[in-house]
Amino acid sequence: MPTPPPTDNDRSFQEWYEQRMEDTIANLLRGGVLLSAFVVIAGAVLYLGAHPLARVSYRSFSGEPEQLRTVHGIVRSASSGQARSIMQLGLLLLIATPVARVVFSILAFAAEGDRMYVGFTLIVLAVLLYSLFGSFLIA
């Protein structure tokens, strides 16, 4: 339950604000994990329904097909209802959860007027986005 902001002095306002920020981050993380687990389970049900006796060998590495390797490919093939892609989409949502947390932190630091930490957090976000969207440029 969010408590109303105290108005008596700056110090307690700061504490109230940080408490709100921490609560929101906690809910964001929990929601992201739950959502991704839900999508992964949905994909798994579809997958096991279609291939109840599937046995896959992971002894040798062959790499995933193109549509399971890029954000764009996963979203596109999952929306066409492919079970493995839906599972992968769930995993992608899981990976996106910490990214969403970083984005939220930028907003929170900005609202506090903490420009130094907005800068730090932007660097972290840039690294994460580069990893998710840019790494195939080099790979």
Binding site: D23, V33, A44, V56, Y58, R59, L68, I95, T97
Partner: protein
Amino acid sequence: MAGFLGALTGLGGGVVLVPLLTIFFHVDLHYAIGASLVSVIATSSGSAAAYVKEGFSNIRIGMFLEIATTMGALLGAYLTAKVPASAIAIIFGLMLMYSAYVSRRTRPRASIEQPADPLATKLKMNGSFPDTTGIRNYNVYRVPAGFSIMFGAGALSGLLGIGSGAFKVVAMDQAMKIPFKVSTTTSNFMIGVTAAASAGVYLSRGYIDPSLAMPVMLGVLIGSLLGTRVLVKTQTKKLRLVFSGVIVLLGIEMLLKGFTGEF
């Protein structure tokens, strides 16, 4: 089976997952690392949610050090493709030995009050946390040393698909003199973001297989839910002893496999 392993991982720690998958289930090292990294994000996000609410973790320290860990993780993830699998196995083995050593060691606690570090103060890192006696304030020291260790921890995380929480705690607890409770919870908080940085590279390389990562991830989530309940009941001292024994054995196995080139 992978789900059960994941559940155990949720109980004990991410380091056991890769050796178990590769040694007993003959899963290729790259797929194992991919599945492990996904499970690391699941546990970190799940448990961090609880700790953030209790006010233990320091978001500013975490965010600043994440600059180091995410860049390290990117480097580590690139190296995974370049370094031969046998070398990864050897590094993994050494890392297992080290984490067994860390978990067995009793930590000397020197809490001599020093004047605040100017750099840490400038970075607004000094904080407070709820203790049994009320709110306790603490100062942070040796930021550059902590930052460097964090880069290494991130690289290790990206290379091996683990959370490398032990090294993050070393950086914060030992180097930066952050209280243990704050170090462990902030480390947990950081693990998810660090792992997300290498997950993108893993994904584009095709290391993350949904049919393998799915049972592992769900198992980890169930395991970490059970874990908090089981850990309250069992004696943690005994559990730790058993666990570090298992870790040492797995470490030896990984080293042997690495040196004989079985990967």
